[in-house]
């Protein structure tokens, strides 16, 4: 008997389904540029570090722990945790951190001349 799957992995998209003629959107272009230059990685690490320093990560962890306590250790799925954390997480990012990251992204956009 397979145990209840707690990690929801979406199926791998088929290569055939991707229409090769589609025009890439601006967002996609920028995303590719971010990844290729390594800027996305740097931004992620910066954001991660800032969020740890200000205690945001600890708040999220204690939220998770309360969900685990309520539902029972073996009944929690990643999806549940994500659904609980996302609204609170998005709302509780300190403004200074948000501003800093937005500034860096904007600088990148300008420098990428897109």
């Amino acid at each position: 008997m397979k145990p209840k799957a707690s990690v929801n992995r979406p199926p791998t998209p088929d290569v055939v389904e991707n229409a090769p003629e589609r025009e890439p959107t601006l967002q996609e272009l920028i995303n590719v540029k971010l990844i290729e230059t390594g800027e996305k990685e740097r931004l992620m690490e910066l954001l991660r570090e800032r969020l740890v320093d200000c205690g945001w990560k600890d708040e999220m962890k204690s939220l998770c722990r309360s969900v685990v306590k309520k539902k029972g250790r073996n009944n929690v799925t990643v999806d549940e945790l994500v659904h609980v954390i996302t609204p609170k997480g998005r709302a509780s990012v300190p403004d200074s951190i948000k501003a800093e990251l937005l500034q860096r992204i904007r600088t990148f956009l300008v420098s990428a001349a897109l």
Partner: protein
């Protein structure tokens, strides 16, 4: 200050979009980590905290219970561990001074009489000195201390017995 045109607008929209994208990735990471810790049972504090909370809630109930708090009710006061203690400690052991069996709760008054605060204790010294000598010694003044006893001269064998107050004698004193 330039008038915000379409490009600037989409710039800040784009920035926000990417910022939220980064934030979502980090949120998923945190959720995944907590999920892993929960499933592997690595967060051992979790159940202990529950136990502590329950115990402290129970103790609080017991403490708040009016029938327990009044000590004048007699010996049957219950402490936070649920134990009762009699008003007078009743463990029995041997007094190191006189060798008698004494009850723990009565030990202090016994020592007072036994060891010299009262009038009768001083007279006891001559009789009980041999019993006390080898076993008992006090931390403060001292075996090699020379002193003249003011009240009486005692003939003592080696060692010294020191009782509260002025009975310091050393060696043998011939009166």
């Amino acid at each position: 200050m330039s008038v915000p045109n379409e490009e600037n607008l989409s710039h800040s929209q784009l920035s926000t979009h990417f910022f939220l994208d980064l934030l979502d990735s980090i949120i998923v990471d945190v959720a995944s980590e907590c999920h892993r810790v929960a499933r592997l049972g690595l967060d051992s504090n979790l159940e202990e905290e529950d136990e502590e909370l329950k115990l402290s809630a129970q103790a609080r109930v017991r403490a708040a219970d009016p029938s327990n708090t009044n000590e004048a009710n007699g010996k049957y006061v219950v402490d936070i561990f649920g134990q009762t203690h009699p008003a007078v400690a009743n463990e029995i052991f041997e007094c190191m001074n006189c060798g008698r069996s004494i009850m723990a709760g009565r030990f202090a008054p016994h020592l007072e009489k036994c060891m010299g605060k009262g009038r009768k204790a001083r007279l006891k010294v001559t009789r009980s000195s041999t019993a006390a000598q080898n076993r008992y010694s006090r931390g403060s003044p001292v075996s090699t201390y020379s002193n003249y006893s003011t009240n009486c001269m005692n003939r003592l064998a080696n060692g010294s017995s020191i009782f509260a107050g002025d009975e310091h004698s050393n060696g043998t004193l011939e009166s």
